[in-house]
Amino acid sequence: MSEAVASTQSMGSLNGDEILRVEGLVKHFPIKAGVLKHTVGQVRAVDGVDLAVRRGETLGVVGESGCGKTTLGRTIIKLTEPTAGKIVFDEQDITTYKRRQMRPVRRDIQIVFQDPYASLNPRMTVREIVAEPLRIHGLYRGGEGRRRVEELLRTVGLSPEHGNRFPHEFSGGQRQRIGVARALALNPKMMVLDEPVSALDVSIQAQVVNLLAQLQNEFGLTFLFIAHDLSVVRHVSDRVAVMYLGKIMEVGTREQIYGRPMHPYTQALLSAVPIDSPDQRGKRTRIVLEGDVPSPANPPSGCRFRTRCWKAQEICAQEEPALIPRAGGDHPVACHFAEVMKPLDLVESVAAPQAS
């Protein structure tokens, strides 16, 4: 099946209110070897991704390390140049935009990184960090700029007095707030959030997750939320895309992905998460996949998941399954043998909790 057909079908449910569309996005990194640094191979980090994001929604992207989710986020905002494919943001094709052309686009699409320790300049005060994007875009003017920074700090739950301190004086959660304030400075339309809470302790994670939700409501932001934590992604996302080895395996609403997953990989992922309730011990289907994720430099032929899949047949090695609705389902799934399975349902009914 041609890629174009697949992409129209898989994105068929979206219409004119989309803010971002990527088609056939590819990002390969060369593997160099020898003294002359010959290219001996390619790491196919993102290898043909079609995605559309609606204005105001949160699209979650989940997958394990090495699946390409971080590269996807960075390529979409052109922190790295795509190898092939098309990126349309807010009705502009930005695929070939150069640095200068990207400048106004960068006001509208911002990124928040995973590690709040590494992403803030340790020699700058918090005020300088938050003011920096305003200065770069020539929007920081005297008292007004100062007031804007104070307002941003308050918006993310910090006090203006925090502005005079340095990043090392803050805890992980507060640093992530600073990163969010910086991303908000230019009133973006969209934010790419790359593992924004995974470095934080659970009690603090919830603070930052709630802050993001509140900001989304207040400013009508669109989020691309990249994370490996399936529980957090469920909580924040309207729709979810599941990635494996540079490809999207399944994409659907939260209800479709968590309630009626059809791809064996999605099912295995969901079944693998330990659920924080000892009452559910032994009452859930546990799919334990064999082996490790293959190298993205040399992905398996056909379906990339087939080497770990319990359903794999001959066709899986020969033909790559397109990402289309299948088996009577209403969301796109890239599996020849797609079928609903509900790994979160309990195998036998759980007794009602004792209310004493």
């Binding site: 394990e64 998460v273 924080d276 009452d279 996949l289 979160l344």
Partner: protein, 342 residues
Amino acid sequence: MPEPVLSIRDLTVEFGTEDGVVRAVTGVSYDLYPGEVLGIVGESGSGKSVSMLSVLGLIPQPPGRIVEGTANFEGEDLLKMPKGKLRDVRGGKVSMIFQDPMTSLNPVLTIGDQISEAIKAHRPGTNDNAANSRTVELLEMVGVPFAERRVQQYPHEFSGGMRQRAMIAMAIANDPTILVADEPTTALDVTIQAQIVEVLKAAQRETHAATVLITHDLGLIAELADRVVVMYAGRVVELADVFTIFNAPRHPYTVGLMKSLARLDADQEWLEPIPGQPPSLITPPPGCAFHPRCAQSQGREICRTELPELRPSSDGGDHLSACHFADELTVTHVRVAAGAGG
């Protein structure tokens, strides 16, 4: 109740830092019983790892310093044991699995040599052949495919999940009485985590070792632990069997932790975070260290002035809580497990 295999009493550990003395662990007491899995849960800086590592002589001194306490293991106090003898205990009767197998495996020795060495070190007189076949057997047990060939490989030739299996094989090589697993799955992807959890279960079944599972992951605790120690700011704040901890906790921190978690199996409108930040361990808050973030304290003076003792709660002697108002907390405060979709 059988005799505990390990009894820690009044353990206090400090670290000297540039900014002052950090009280990583203060007055910690708990018992480990034969064959059980004791979960120790807490966030970063709670002292969950230090409490165990200091007992095993695994914290650098200085900057670390064991201020007081005892750790009774088979009639002896580990904290007073000569270094050489303690080294024999470690890797022998007490063995460990760490978060990052890459830093705990020797990169210049083959996997097989490392495991064989561990066997021979604790069983003098074992010949090379016997050690080697035992190594292969152990690796097969933890699910390393082609074990016979892979014993000749080096750690960097193993994937993260396979390295963790090799670590587990080494840890159970000498039939330990106690197995300490410190964040054993934290660095791994979720599908690999699931594999390692199965291996851990099998290893525990095989050895019947009393297992200490140190983790921040409540899901892992729910899945594996029999009893749970909850730590906050260097102290034990609650101790009970795993069902009680999850279904009827009696410490506001435990309740807060449960409420702040996003759920995989249900939709929630908002998460309920614990407000504020974890306290400084150099100048901890007076009274109960949790009081500035506590939903239960409601500004009551005693929480600021008096350290709550870890004592039996009203629902029985085995459930300990260090909260002045433990009895105010009822089942209704908790997100009781409602099952899928509920």
